[in-house]
């Protein structure tokens, strides 16, 4: 029996977990807490990885883990309800079973970034896969330099994790900058796309690792800002989104140039992606 056929069943068969809690973050985004249904601890994950969540009878979805990697007894996911399967997922009642495969994929380079400033740039739901990295840096605060979080959302009503963002701003050497594309009269914060926030931070490019997640077009412009400010392509990491199905590089649905996003990603250094990001046909 080959190694592939020995491991194939275990990675393709979901483990049933119990939906413990559903919290409404915004009008269309929810955070789900899954706990073990059989007393076994869920598999350990690294910040940036994703799981395949199976809503039985509806479909399976790739969802980034948004919880604290130190909390070993549960898995937390933040999901935007945009289609049939995501709607089914966020409307399950606590106590129901959700199938989980994974965690899968590459993670943010936190071990290799010790001693460096961490610049996190998130757009919209893109903050969710970055939150475990923020938890990690805050828990190991002395291992890193400054933590700068630049977060952009569509409107004030679309901001995720608002209480946490406010609290993190009080942590020493941590700066949280938030902006929205459109604000009403009650919003007194920044208005403008996330790239406009770069004007208000001081980067030390030679000691900066940037972690970026958001819509692909946003990431392209964020990368330009980082490169203009002297951050090298090797120190910029992006989390890519594609149509992941098998999650282990067999089916090819998530191919991006020579890579499978599920297996070779979702986190890539920009130096590996730059040849493929601007191609229209991919």
């Amino acid at each position: 029996m080959s190694a592939a056929s020995e491991t194939l069943p275990s990675v393709m068969v979901p483990v049933a977990m119990r939906l413990a809690r559903v919290e409404k973050e915004t009008h269309d985004t929810f955070t789900l807490t899954l706990e073990s249904a059989d007393g076994e601890r869920p598999a350990r994950f690294a910040p940036g990885q994703f799981s395949m969540l199976y809503v039985f009878g509806v479909g399976e979805l790739p969802i980034s883990i948004s919880g604290n990697p130190e909390e070993r007894d549960r898995l937390i996911y933040t999901v935007r309800s945009v289609g049939k399967a995501t709607h089914a997922l966020v409307t399950r009642a606590p106590g129901e079973a959700i199938g989980v495969r994974g965690p899968f994929g590459t993670s943010w380079p936190l071990a290799d970034s010790r001693g460096r400033d961490i610049v996190i740039v998130a757009g919209g739901i893109g903050l969710a896969p970055l939150r475990p990295a923020i938890y990690h840096v805050l828990r190991h605060r002395g291992d890193y330099g400054r933590l700068l979080v630049l977060y952009g959302a569509r409107s004030p009503q679309d901001l995720l994790f608002r209480k946490q963002l406010t609290a993190w701003n009080y942590v020493p050497d941590t700066q949280i900058l938030i902006t929205v594309d459109y604000g009403g009269l009650s919003w007194r914060g920044n208005v403008g796309v996330v790239t406009t926030l770069f004007r208000h931070i001081r980067l030390e490019p030679e000691r900066t690792t940037a972690l970026v997640c958001g819509p692909e077009i946003m990431m392209r412009y964020v990368v330009r800002e980082l490169l203009v400010r002297g951050v090298s392509a090797e120190d910029i990491y992006l989390s890519m989104e594609r149509n992941m199905k098998c999650a282990v590089g067999f089916c090819g649905h998530c191919q991006l140039g020579p890579y499978f996003v599920c297996k070779d990603g979702p986190v890539f250094p920009y130096s590996r992606l730059k040849a493929w990001m601007d191609r229209y046909e991919l």
Binding site: G123, R154, D158, L185, R188, T196, R199, G214, M218
Partner: protein, 160 residues
């Protein structure tokens, strides 16, 4: 109020004058005066023929537009940024947005007509000023284009 010598120092620290020669900064400083706006004070309204160009020293300003009876904030500007660039060009047909101080704001104000006159008298100064102003306008245009894409929409970016 900043004294004239300190005004040059203050201006020198503003990001707008990066690339200006010292004599050009002195020339600009000679046309500047310090202004203050209270929180929620309207600095100019949409359609105003306000002739002032501002370099923000501290505080935050919102650019607003009224649409369908609602006020929408489309951009905020902070210390180190510029406000009212169209005043330098003149003949723009009035302000396109309303500017409101979101916090107490301290700024350097320049009369647009005087700036244009200085540009006519000294083309090197005029080139430096207009080049810098064009960079400001270009970065605003790029940001607005991205904003128009509505990147975070559930349907994905719009085609514009």
């Amino acid at each position: 109020m900043i004294k004239s010598k300190n005004l040059v120092e203050t201006l020198r620290e503003h990001a707008f004058v990066a690339g200006f020669q010292p004599a050009q900064i002195d020339r600009l400083a000679a046309m500047a005066h310090e202004v203050h706006f209270d929180r929620d004070q309207i600095i100019f309204r949409e359609g105003d023929e306000s002739s002032f160009f501002y370099l923000i020293l501290s505080g935050k300003v919102a650019l607003e537009v009224t649409a369908l009876g609602k006020v929408l904030r489309v951009q905020t500007l902070r210390e180190g940024e510029e406000l009212g660039w169209s005043s330098v060009l003149g003949g723009s047909g009035g302000k396109h947005f309303q500017a409101r101080a979101l916090t107490a704001v301290r700024a350097l104000a320049f009369d647009g007509a005087r700036l244009r006159e200085a540009c006519e008298q000294d083309y090197a100064f005029g080139y430096t000023l207009m080049r810098r102003l064009l960079q400001v306008v270009a970065s605003r245009l790029q940001a607005f284009r991205l904003q128009l894409l509505d990147m975070y929409s559930p349907e994905g970016p719009k085609s514009v």
